[in-house]
């Protein structure tokens, strides 16, 4: 099938690539670009593990085609912190035991990263609804919810 060229901004860097239209964004990030921080669980939209941010909004990368990111700004979990210099949200996940196996974590982080930008002071119920599209088999969600609330209140007290 005809390949298409796409130009986009990925984690702050301008990129160009040629993509086969049937390749979804999640596979493109992992296989073509080697960014394996984005995880793929179900590949039909139900688990949320594959969440990345496109033009500021959290989206399921298994339900978007790579060819559709032409002209957009994409952020993946690799844009957050680095080992030894975690982002505040990542640090809060670590502190609150918001992860165990880590499979859901990049999707949780990117969902909450996008959510907290637009909702700086959520309630516990708000956070639970915000992550309703992300499934975690390990933690029971308590630590994840607490991490989001801690991050929001830490940010509020800094500003």
């Amino acid at each position: 099938m005809t390949e298409h060229s796409v130009t986009f901004t990925l984690n702050g860097e301008r990129r160009e690539a040629r993509v086969d239209p049937r390749i979804h964004l999640g596979d493109f990030l992992r296989h073509s670009l080697g960014l394996t921080g984005t995880h793929l669980g179900c590949e039909h939209g139900v688990c949320g593990a594959c969440t990345v941010i496109v033009n500021g909004a959290p989206v399921r990368s298994c339900l978007m085609l790579a060819v559709q990111i032409d002209g957009t700004v994409v952020e993946t979990v690799e844009s957050l912190g680095k080992p030894g210099a975690l982002s505040p949200l990542q640090q809060a996940f670590a502190t609150n035991h918001g992860l165990q196996c880590g499979f859901c974590t990049s999707g949780m982080l990117m969902t909450l990263e996008a959510y907290l930008r637009t909702t700086p002071a959520p309630t516990e119920q708000d956070v639970r609804i915000a992550i309703s599209g992300n499934i975690c088999r390990c933690t029971g969600y308590e630590g994840i919810v607490q991490a989001a609330l801690d991050t929001a209140s830490a940010k509020a007290s800094r500003t």
């Binding site: 339900l63 915000a130 309703s132």
Partner: protein, 289 residues
């Protein structure tokens, strides 16, 4: 799994879109992709051509028109949910959208896509039925307007023709201060509902009902207006409604059975949910003073 191979098209105008639909065989329109992509990844369907309408000019947007509100087919569910205009004029739609999927699916999913896909539990087409919306579609023969009453042809089947696309949905808002109520039951927040209901009410200065809409969805293959029950409400006082005929009508629907629930359970839910929706409509109604 992965989607099977297809040719990708990205029209920029309605004309290009119309021409592609007329020319290509086994083509599918790609809007938000939140129903189509799962079906392709699971290989339930394998179109030869995918026509991406995300970049077609002026297919998205919410406008106040002379005789109501118009919502473009490509308008994202997140934008409909966030719209102050929708919230003030079509509060039932806002109320229902809180239950549609999750922030990630609403960021991509469109109101038009939901109304073309027609899952029996989908809230948006159901609210179109409650609000007597009109679907404006464009095809080789030009534009035609399909009233909500004729839009639903069956399970996952709308009145849209092969070479047509949905352009815009038109709503006539109810009077300021009208009552609106919504209720659904799903196993988890954001999941497709097992069943749901909606109610709209208008009353005169004396508190007597002048206009009513009652709807059950997720019960039969398509959303169902309870027209006879609506008529029984007319003339009754909003503080002392006899809701027995309403519950009876919902509980008598030809309910679907599936792996989750029996038809009897769904009928029971239909009765409970229409009562909740109607009660909520009574409480949200602002009485003219």
């Amino acid at each position: 799994m992965k989607a099977p191979p297809f040719q990708y098209h990205r029209p920029q105008t309605r004309e290009e879109l119309g021409a592609l639909l007329a020319r290509l065989d086994n083509a599918k329109i790609l809007a938000g992709g939140q129903s189509l992509m799962p079906m392709m990844n699971l290989r339930v369907i394998a179109p030869d051509h995918l026509i991406d309408i995300n970049r077609v000019a002026n297919l998205a947007g919410i406008r106040e028109a002379v005789d109501g509100i118009e919502i473009g087919a490509m308008t994202r569910q997140a934008d409909v949910l966030a719209s102050d205009l929708v919230k003030s004029r079509l509060p039932l739609l806002t109320r229902a959208l809180e239950h549609v999927g999750h922030i990630q699916t609403r960021a991509r999913g469109t109101i038009g896509g939901s109304c073309c896909h027609l899952d029996p539990s989908a809230e948006q087409p159901a609210m179109c039925a409650a609000l007597d919306a009109e679907f404006v579609v464009v095809g080789p023969g030009g534009r035609r307007v399909i009233p909500a009453g004729e839009w639903f042809e069956g399970l996952l089947q709308s009145a849209l023709g092969e070479q047509e696309f949905l352009e815009v949905i038109r709503f006539k808002p109810w009077a300021d201060g009208h009552g609106y109520g919504f209720a659904e039951y799903a196993r988890r927040h954001g999941d497709f509902a097992i069943a749901g209901a909606a109610a709209l009410l208008e009353a005169g200065r004396d508190g007597r009902i002048t206009l009513a809409a009652l709807l059950s969805f997720g019960v039969e293959a398509a959303p169902k207006r309870l027209s006879e029950a609506e008529r029984t409400l007319i003339g009754q006082h909003v503080d002392s409604l006899n809701i027995k005929p309403v519950i009876a009508a919902a509980s008598a629907l030809d309910a679907m059975e599936d792996v989750h629930v029996t038809a009897d359970y769904r009928r029971h839910l239909a009765g409970v949910l229409i009562r909740r929706a109607l009660n909520e409509a009574c409480t949200t109604m602002r009485r003219p003073s």
